[in-house]
Structure formats: C-alpha cells, structure tokens
C-alpha cells in the first residue's frame, strides 16, 4: 500500500453560497463522511493545510486581482464579476487555504512524507486565470501547486491532467506559452458546455506550442471514449514530455449522474483514469501524483468515484 496524503481543513466549509448553488460545502461534508465510514482516511497520511506564502500565490495571480477579491469579500459582495461565482465574507481566506491545500499536497509528495496526495479542497480552481475568477473558481489551485513545485523543490517539468468535465480555461491560459508545464484536458465539447474553450487545435503558443493538449468529447461519450483518449492521445504525449510530477485536476462531473454536463462516464471510467495516471507516474516520475479536487456536483456519484480514486491511489 502506498502512503497517500489526505488534505482537508474544516474551514473549507466556510465558503458557502448566499443562494442555491451546486458548489456548496455539502460536497466536502459528503466526501469526508463517505471516506471516513469506508475507513480510508485512517489509512491515509493526514496533513493539515496551511495558508500559502504571498509569493506562491503571486506566482500565478496578479496582486490587483487578489486585492479586488479581498475587497469584494470584505465589502460583502455576493458575487464576483459573473453571477455564478459567489462570495461570502470568508471566501478570500478559504480560497487562499484551498490553494494552500494544493501546496500542502505537493509538499508532502515532494518531501517524501507521502507517495501521493488527494487534496479535498474547495473552492475549485481550474477556471481561474491570473486576473480573473469565474465558473465557481477564485484561485487556480493546480497552477499554484505547479509553480510551487518548480520554485521550491527544483521540479522542472510538471504534467497537469484535467479530467473535470469542463475545460480548464484558467489553467490553459496560465501555462499557454510555458513549455515546462504540460496541460492536458479531457472535457465535454465546447460547443455544448461551459466555458466554450478547449478545442482540439488549441495546443499552446510560442515556446509553449505542443505542451497544451485538448480532447473534447461529444455529448454522450463515456468510459470507452475516455479510455481510448487516455491510451492513444495522453500516453504518447506523456512519453514525449517526461514529467517529473503529475498533478490531477480531479473533477467528477463527467459522471453520468452529474447534472451539470452531458457525459456518461461511470465509476469504472474514473477507476481506469486513476489507474492509468498512476501507471504513467510510476513509469516516469517515481509515482508522484498530486490529485486536486475540482468539480463534481451529485453527492452519490461524487463520493463513490472519489472512494475508487483514493483506493487506486493507495494501490491497496
């Protein structure tokens, strides 16, 4: 059995919607309950996340944006820019602690206190860009973790595998021209689903051309299509790129029961994806995988998929 870090903080529940909203604290309550009852948290390395250093956040986000976000929370704004990204007075701190959670997961793996990590954090991050929050996301947790590994642990090349059903436009933009971070995203086709980006010819720019890879899935696609894409598209790209660490933007909203999208992935699909990423990590980067929670809005499938995901990370 592998040592898998469990990153969670009760303060993650403080960021809660002022109106009915799918991205709610109940998601994490359900996850911790379920994994606790399954006896899995007892078998993980419990790590309490800390607030990140300013420099670690500023490696991704603009100071002006952080100020704007902090002011909006303090002023009592209910939303940030667009109506779907809500705020309460805790949101700024919780967003920092969420990014801090991704850092803690990365740190545990980099320093060897764990082989892998699962970061049960929120708010999610992959839609957030350097100067903008959107799509329920305030700070880009995965991007902050990638930059942290490069700045503090001498990591050169990072692979981000984003299997949230939505395209991670924020993460893509942050690393668009950066050849040291490979961004792979599999998601529902942008014609049908938010945010409307992530078409197959978006492959990076300038020096980063070739280190962005998008696999849009037609509505109705499921386990078989995901398997083919991982084996035939992701795997050869990873062979060429040779990452030193793999981060997973682990959303579970591609599940057939999730209300926010139109894909048909099942528990077995998430088992396959986790197993495949673990195998790639074992082959290329000493097994180092840091999994960071993104979306997933239907409690029953969210928790059953995460249980499978964690069991696969444990290689029990």
């Amino acid at each position: 059995m592998k040592r898998v870090a469990w990153i969670y903080h009760p303060d993650y529940l403080l960021h809660s919607p002022p109106f009915e909203h799918p991205e709610s604290p109940e998601r994490l309550v359900a996850i911790t309950d379920h994994l606790g009852k399954a006896g899995l948290i007892d078998r993980m390395v419990v790590v309490t996340p800390e607030y990140p250093e300013d420099t670690d956040i500023l490696s991704v986000h603009d100071r002006d944006y952080l100020n704007r976000l902090e002011t909006a929370c303090r002023r009592g704004d209910l939303t940030l820019d667009s109506e779907d990204t809500y705020l309460n007075r805790h949101s700024f701190n919780v967003a920092l602690l969420s990014a801090g959670g991704a850092i803690s997961g990365a740190k545990a793996v980099a320093e060897g206190t764990a082989d892998r990590a699962f970061c049960a954090i929120r708010p999610p991050g992959h839609h957030a860009g350097p100067d903008v929050g959107m799509g329920f996301c305030l700070l880009n947790n995965a991007a902050v973790a990638a930059r942290y590994l490069q700045a503090r642990h001498g990591v050169g090349k990072v692979l981000i595998v984003d299997w949230d059903v939505h395209h991670g436009n924020g993460t893509q933009n942050i690393f668009l021209e950066d050849p040291s971070v490979f961004y792979f995203s599999i998601h529902e086709h942008p014609t049908f689903l938010y945010p409307g980006t992530g078409r197959r010819w978006e492959i990076g720019k300038g020096k980063g051309e070739g280190t962005t890879l998008n696999a849009p899935m037609a509505p109705g696609a499921g386990d078989a299509e995901y398997r083919t894409t991982f084996e035939q598209t992701l795997e050869p790209a990873v062979e060429r790129f040779r990452p030193e660490v793999i981060l997973v933007s682990a959303g579970f909203d591609a599940h057939r029961d999730d209300p926010l999208a139109d894909l048909m992935v099942t528990e077995e699909g998430f088992r396959f994806m986790t197993r495949h990423v673990v195998a790639l990590a074992n082959k290329f980067c000493g097994g180092k995988v840091v999994s960071i929670l993104e979306g997933g809005y239907e409690p029953s499938s969210l928790t059953s998929c995460i249980e499978i995901h964690v069991r696969e990370l444990l290689e029990e």
Partner: protein
C-alpha cells in the same frame, strides 16, 4: 449590418498594365488570392485571381522545352488585363452583410470588391471576413454555456425564454433562432455567461418548453 463594417479597407490593387509576375508577387506578399484591377482614376475594371494566373501560365508550361526562365519571361510580359475577369461580381457600400453572403454563395466567388456610387473601389470583402462575422455572431470562444430550446413556432416564445434567463441575472452572449425539423417548431440557441445552467434549464422546462439533450445530436 452593412458590408462597410466588415470589409477590408486597405487593399492591394493592380493597374491593367501590371504584369502577371507583379500580381503574383503581390498576392504572395499579402497572402491574398485575388486583386481588383483598377484604371488610373480608381474605377474597377476587373479582378485577377491566383487561379487566373496559374491557368494562363499552364498551357505554355506544357510546351516541350519550355523552361522556368521562359515561364517567368511570359509572366513578366503579360499584362493582367489579358487574363482578368471583366464581369466582376461586386458589392456596393449600401449592401448589407446578408447581401454579401448571398452574393458569395450564389455566384461562387471568393471575394467581392466593394464599390462606391462612382464605381470606385472602396474595399473588398472575402469569405474569410464573412466567417469571422459568423464566429462573432455565434459567440464562439466567449466564456459561456449553450442552451438549445425547441419552441412552438408562434410569436412571444423568445420573449418568454429571455425573461426566464434574465430572472437568473445571467447575460445572454448570443442568440440564434432557426427552423426545426418538425413543422410548427423552432430551435432557439442561446449562449449564456454562466457555468450553472442547470437551474435555467429546469425553469425553462417548467415553463413548458423542450430542452434538447445534446447527447441526442449525434443520433441520425
């Protein structure tokens, strides 16, 4: 929208006496496929395309013993007025973008020189410009989600739908309404600036409209 809004105003033109060689050089330099030919006072007299030039050179090319040097000499000695199309399909400054789209389609041309009332060339509008206008109109690339709603073909349904969407304080970034395959129905496509389309879909269904399931799009 009028073509003037979408046409290229800085354009390359050629005099009737310009050589094919010079016209081809200009096309390569500016990555364009056709050049309006204008008289000294700017009046449109024809249009020459890369295909016209290739077609003119090709027959001489097939003469046995004809060298590249001779082909170049031929191109340098042949004025564009010898090969240009004289009956040019044009748009006028007062034509709309829809006019231009129909002209490009019905006359099977790649570009329309846009002429003013005096017959002078004011710009050019190409298939690419029209596609760009469509990309904008469809809201492709804007951060948004898509909804497809099938409605009875009767007045007021679009207003009902936009009222529902606006009750969620969500911006609509694009609207498209087309005929549906079923007679008596229309398909309305919206792009809305939110990730959270679930509640909007639900409200639309509760109001009695049919939301099309995207996964059904693939079925024949």
């Amino acid at each position: 929208m009028f073509v003037a809004r979408r046409m290229k105003k800085k354009i390359v033109t050629a005099a009737p006496s310009a050589s094919l060689f010079e016209a081809q050089r200009q096309m390569r330099e500016h990555t364009i496929r056709q050049i309006p030919v204008v008289s000294e006072d700017g009046t449109l007299v024809g249009i020459v395309s890369d295909r016209d030039i290739r077609a003119a050179v090709l027959p001489t090319d097939m003469v046995p013993g004809f060298t590249i040097g001779e082909a170049e000499k031929f191109m340098k000695n042949t004025p564009v007025e010898r090969v240009m199309t004289r009956k040019v399909v044009t748009a006028t400054l007062s034509d709309t973008l829809e006019d231009a789209i129909v002209l490009l389609h019905d006359f099977r041309v790649n570009a329309l020189p846009v002429v003013d009332a005096a017959g002078k060339v004011a710009g050019i509008i190409t298939r690419t410009d029209v596609l760009e206008a469509f990309i904008d109109a469809l809201g492709v690339g804007e951060i948004s989600s898509r909804l497809e709603v099938v409605v009875p073909d009767m007045p007021g349904t679009l207003a009902q739908l936009t009222a529902i969407i606006s009750s969620f304080h969500v911006n609509i970034t694009s609207v498209l309404s087309t005929r549906h395959v079923d007679i008596g129905k229309r398909s309305n496509f919206f792009r809305v600036a939110t990730l959270n389309v679930g509640p909007i879909r639900k409200a639309i269904e509760e109001a009695g409209f049919e939301i099309l399931d995207p996964s059904k799009f693939l079925l024949p």
